[in-house]
């Protein structure tokens, strides 16, 4: 069974600064996907970024980028130029053969 660990229950960052959220996972699989989801107070789960394990290049989406270290089983999310609207809970998810395992989340607060 896969496990996903987010070791930072809460984090805060000043507006316009950069913050990195950590995620590690444990699996014996070689082919899988990794995702970061954002959950604002509205509860809606919003996909932030995805990474296919077979791709060495780190994924980027505007201000969001990942540092994917397959050998270390690490998948961190970097948010650049943080905005107040980035305040939310962030979940890391491991997906293999269509089945997901989620971490327990990191609550991020962006301070003005």
């Amino acid at each position: 069974a896969q496990t996903v660990t987010q070791s930072q229950p809460e984090m805060s960052v000043q507006e316009a600064e950069t913050v990195t959220l950590s995620c590690t996972y444990d699996t014996s699989e070689n082919n899988y996907y990794l995702f970061w989801y954002k959950q604002p107070p509205s509860r809606q789960m919003i996909l932030v970024i995805r990474q296919e394990a077979y791709k060495q290049q780190n994924a980027t989406e505007n201000r969001f980028s990942v540092n994917f270290q397959k050998a270390a089983k690490s998948f961190s999310l970097k948010i650049s130029d943080s905005q107040l609207g980035d305040t939310a809970m962030y979940f890391c998810a491991f997906v293999n053969a269509g089945k997901s395992t989620f971490g327990d989340g990191t609550t991020l607060t962006v301070k003005p």
């Binding site: 069974a1 989801y37 809606q44 996909l47 997906v95 269509g98 089945k99």
Partner: protein
């Protein structure tokens, strides 16, 4: 939101009563999932479906059953609700024509309270 709706959005019920939550999609995705989310936890998989009438258990399936009689609808049933089933329930879909079946799209959630 990929055309996913959940009903009801909120429900309060009493211990021992049956409850059915509905997930409806208009995207013709093959896979559908039910998760629960509790404080301090991420989403945990209850059941999933990989096609009409094809379902399987997730990691927290005890006390829940599901049915999928057509592509668009995936029902989650609590045969006899307990207070431990108070939670927020999310439906998700994957496996559309233009997306990997590993990428899931989520519904808005249903908050269930069992008194």
């Amino acid at each position: 939101d990929a055309g996913i709706t959940q009903s009801p959005r909120h429900k309060v019920t009493e211990t021992g009563t049956p409850v059915t939550l509905r997930c409806h999609q208009t995207e013709n995705h093959r896979y559908m999932y039910w998760y629960r989310q509790d404080p301090g936890h991420g989403l945990r998989l209850i059941h999933y479906s990989y096609g009409v009438k094809d379902t399987d258990k997730g990691e927290v399936s005890d006390g829940y059953s599901v049915s999928r009689s057509k592509t668009e609808d995936f029902l989650l049933t609590l045969e006899s609700a307990t207070s431990s089933q108070t939670s927020v329930y999310f439906c998700a879909i994957s496996g559309g024509a233009e997306s990997s079946y590993n990428e899931q799209f989520f519904g808005p959630g249903t908050r269930l309270t069992v008194l």
